[in-house]
């Protein structure tokens, strides 16, 4: 198990380094940071002055080495556009996204698990199909579109919920639905598959034979075992929510790291872009790593790959 854990850790770190190199190069290829920083009304001399002042005229590998050194020391850099330390900016925004991602996953679980259980219990009936289609619609709808439908129906039509901002808990409901709905199909199908496998197993048959009511068997004995893989999937989905929030946060005008990412792209704020990709990657990879370990613990076959 230790060898498996170390091997996975090594792979995770390798992915992390690759992500940082790719991001570092891509953000610099996408646009001239000096022109962006100088602003649209700057003269050529001003642009050149900015280029020299911020070191954008140095070779890329040299710029990367400096940046990596700072990151390892815990310094994510200074945003020249916002004139503030990057870490401070990100930390200020992280709670909104964390809350949103948490609520989204909660919504996904509340919808997906009952659907998965019902679908497994009523396997291959119309109920099963219906449950599946409810979940699949979530994946098929692009979330910006679904978000707009929510705004039109719940915000403009019924006027039940506030449309934009993140000031109150009510502001989180529509975004959490828009973001969480996307995760429902995966969780629902895994729950269904797990339930079907468990319901067919010997101990369930024994439990039923002992005369326990069906509902109790399903809810207590079967679900608990079927949910084990769902836990690790949910961890991964939570990481996915962090990055998926880019669109949803922009649509609902929430000041989380997703929107910060979008803003940074628009204003070519390289320092923040890099830091965000790095932070989201770290969270995502950490969640993935934990899911791997969990799976490895639960299923010894995975360890000998």
């Amino acid at each position: 198990m230790l060898a498996f854990a170390l091997k996975r850790l090594g792979l995770t770190l390798l992915v992390l380094v690759s992500v940082s190199i790719i991001t570092f190069s891509l953000v610099r290829l996408a646009g001239d940071p000096a022109i962006a920083l100088a602003g649209p009304e700057a003269t050529s001399e001003e642009v050149e002055a900015v280029r020299a002042a911020y070191g954008f005229d140095r070779p890329l590998p040299a710029q990367y080495a400096t940046w990596l050194g700072d990151v390892l020391k815990g310094d994510l850099g200074f945003s020249n556009i916002l004139q503030r330390p990057v870490l401070e900016v990100v930390m200020e925004r992280l709670p909104v996204t964390a809350k949103l991602a948490g609520l989204s996953v909660l919504f996904a679980l509340i919808v997906a698990i009952p659907l998965g259980v019902v679908a497994a219990a009523k396997r291959n009936t119309i109920v099963d199909r219906l449950a599946l289609s409810i979940a699949v619609v979530g994946q098929a709808l692009p979330n910006f579109f679904f978000a707009l439908v929510l705004i039109l129906v719940l915000g403009v039509g019924l006027r039940w919920l506030p449309i934009s901002g993140d000031k109150t808990f009510l502001h989180y409901i529509m975004p959490a639905i828009a973001l969480g709905y996307f995760a429902t199909p995966a969780i629902m199908r895994l729950t269904r598959a797990g339930m079907i496998e468990v319901l067919d197993s010997d101990y369930i048959r024994t439990a039923r034979a002992m005369g326990l009511p069906r509902s109790r068997v399903v809810m207590k004995h079967a679900l608990r075992n079927a949910l084990i893989p769902v836990v690790s999937l949910t961890a991964v989905q939570l990481g996915f929510m962090l990055s998926g929030s880019i669109i949803v946060e922009s649509v609902f005008s929430m000041n989380g790291i997703g929107r910060l990412g979008w803003q940074s792209i628009q204003r070519t704020d390289l320092e923040v872009m890099q830091a965000l990709v790095l932070i989201i990657s770290v969270i995502y990879l950490a969640l993935n790593y934990m899911a791997d370990l969990l799976n490895g613990l639960l299923d010894p076959r995975l360890r000998v790959q």
């Binding site: 700057a42 050529s44 705004i151 915000g155 006027r159 449309i163 649509v251 005008s253």
Partner: protein, 513 residues
């Protein structure tokens, strides 16, 4: 099943009661909320030049000179009069009895302090070219200041009426905190102005709240009517439109063209179309730097100018308030004149000019663009009808700028908003004076513009610019196309006056009775 239905119905009925709707702005509480997708990071235009911050500068602060947004004339604001002592000395008498938001008196010391900070490179003012014309500022007495310019600068009044020339109280510069690198953190500057509104709260990137200044002096801006003005950043256009529909917002701009008709039909909302100082123009490779290009021939450039129906593009694609522009400037700008050669829409003449230049079969050229794609596509459509096939290279501005600087593109659609300055030197002298991305590169045009830029006598100055504009038209290396127009979606009860420089002036706005 029946009981479930009952519960669901009861739940649906109770929903609106449980979820209280958020506070809505509007005429009832004499408040106004406006929004765009732009964010403001520092509440002072020296360090954040977004239009939205520029607009708020006019609310929180005053300038020495006021440009009347209706007549475009310069009127006294913090100054009561001014006088050119000589070509490089401008003296102002200041208004007495003006109070800052904190109750302190406005005097010459405040002007001297602000302008000195503005000129000090350590202040790090963005786009310093806007202020570099000022030489030094000098206090004569408590209510008299003198600007000693380094060279004659006839557009001084226009620049002095601009957002950067705001005069905050001198004390705001005291005791500012330091950034980690040891430099002063100007983003922490307190906001103390003399303007019709006070900055009540500010959250970077999110929100700015202004409240009415009840003690505002009687001046050309008049007394503000609306009590609270809130700016909110909402990145998504559809979200802003939805908020306008439910009354969460009272003012939005840059409406998507497909939504204008729809929004105009909504109850409680009206659509306003206003002018915009931004103009679009084609730049052409006059010198043939991009290789063996047909546009190096002036007849081909004239053909291109005749081939485009600018009137149709302006009115049908850009918007009702858009206008055809013939000179390399926005028509209201001081020094701009329409009395120069015109190239009217005439596809037959365009074909004849092409044939005369030796291209009876037509030509193929590459055209760069970076802003509104439909505008470029309309231009391409008209050019194709005259036998000019274009390959569109659509780039980000930084990419197009690199191509122009390298000189390897036949022509490009460019735009310029003059930073809202109503003086020709803010456009022609910026775009045609030999910067690396200027592909006209004409020493004669540059000389005429330089003469205009430094001639204080108004008539001689106009004559110099007319000469430059005529040369631009004859060389056809810069084909003016049309001015933009701006659309606003506003609460039906709001009386709002749109300005061409794009700065919304809410101190002029009010709620209809």
């Amino acid at each position: 099943m029946k009981s479930f239905k009952k519960v669901a119905l009861a739940g649906a009925a109770l929903m609106p009661l449980c979820l209280s709707t958020p506070a809505v702005a509007g005429p009832d509480d004499n408040a106004l909320i406006w929004s765009t997708d732009r964010e403001i990071s520092v509440p002072f235009v020296w360090w954040d030049t977004v239009t939205e911050m520029g607009a708020m500068m006019y609310h929180i602060y005053d300038t020495l000179v006021y440009r009347n947004p209706e007549t475009m004339e310069y009127e006294p604001l913090l100054a009561t009069s001014w006088e050119w002592i000589d070509d490089t000395t401008l003296e102002f008498k200041l208004r007495e009895g003006v109070k800052y938001h904190d109750g302190s008196d406005f005097t010459a010391d405040d002007v001297v302090k602000s302008y000195s900070m503005l000129l000090d490179p350590a202040t790090g003012v963005r786009n310093a070219s806007f202020v570099s014309w000022m030489g030094a500022v000098e206090k004569i007495d408590d209510y008299t200041v003198r600007l000693n310019l380094e060279k004659p600068f006839p557009a001084a009044l226009e620049f002095l009426a601009g957002t950067r020339m705001a005069v905050p109280a001198a004390e705001v510069w005291d005791d500012l905190p330091k950034k980690p690198d040891g430099t002063t953190d100007f983003s922490q500057m307190p906001s103390i102005g003399t303007g019709p509104y006070k900055l009540a709260s500010f959250t970077p990137g999110e929100e700015a709240v202004l409240t009415r200044n009840p003690a505002y002096f009687e001046g050309p801006k008049g007394q503000p009517e609306i009590e609270t003005i809130t700016f909110r950043t909402i990145p998504d256009q559809e979200t802003r439109v939805a908020e306008l529909m439910v009354g969460g917002l009272d003012w939005i701009t840059d409406l998507p063209s497909d939504m204008i008709a729809q929004l105009g039909a909504m109850p409680g909302v009206k659509v306003i179309n206003g002018p915009d100082m931004r103009i679009a123009y084609l730049v052409l490779d006059r010198l043939g730097k991009s290789g063996d290009t047909p546009v190096a021939d002036v007849r081909v450039r004239k053909a291109i100018a005749h081939a485009i129906d600018r009137e149709a593009i302006a009115k049908q694609i850009v918007g009702p308030a858009a206008e055809v522009v013939n000179a390399a400037c926005y028509p209201t700008q001081v020094g701009c004149t329409d009395d120069i050669p015109h190239y009217d829409y005439d596809p037959e003449k365009a074909k004849a000019l092409l044939a005369e230049a030796g291209y009876p079969e037509g030509i193929t050229v590459e055209m760069g663009a970076y802003r509104e794609r439909p505008h470029s596509e309309a231009i391409m459509g008209y050019l194709a009808q005259a036998g000019i096939d274009t390959k569109l290279t659509y780039l980000q501005w930084s990419g197009l700028r690199e191509r122009l600087t390298a000189g390897d593109i036949d022509m490009a659609v460019r735009t310029w908003a003059s930073s809202g300055l109503n003086d020709i030197s803010a456009i022609a002298s910026v775009q045609l004076s030999g910067a690396p991305d200027d592909i006209c590169q004409s020493p004669e045009i540059q000389a005429a513009l330089a003469k205009g830029d430094t001639t204080v006598d108004p008539e001689a100055r106009k004559a110099a610019y007319k000469e430059a504009l005529t040369m631009v038209a004859e060389e056809v290396c810069w084909i003016p196309l049309f001015s933009y127009s701006k659309t606003y979606g506003v609460n039906e009860a709001l009386e709002f006056f749109p300005t061409a420089d794009g700065f919304p002036l809410f101190y002029l706005a009010k709620w209809a009775e």
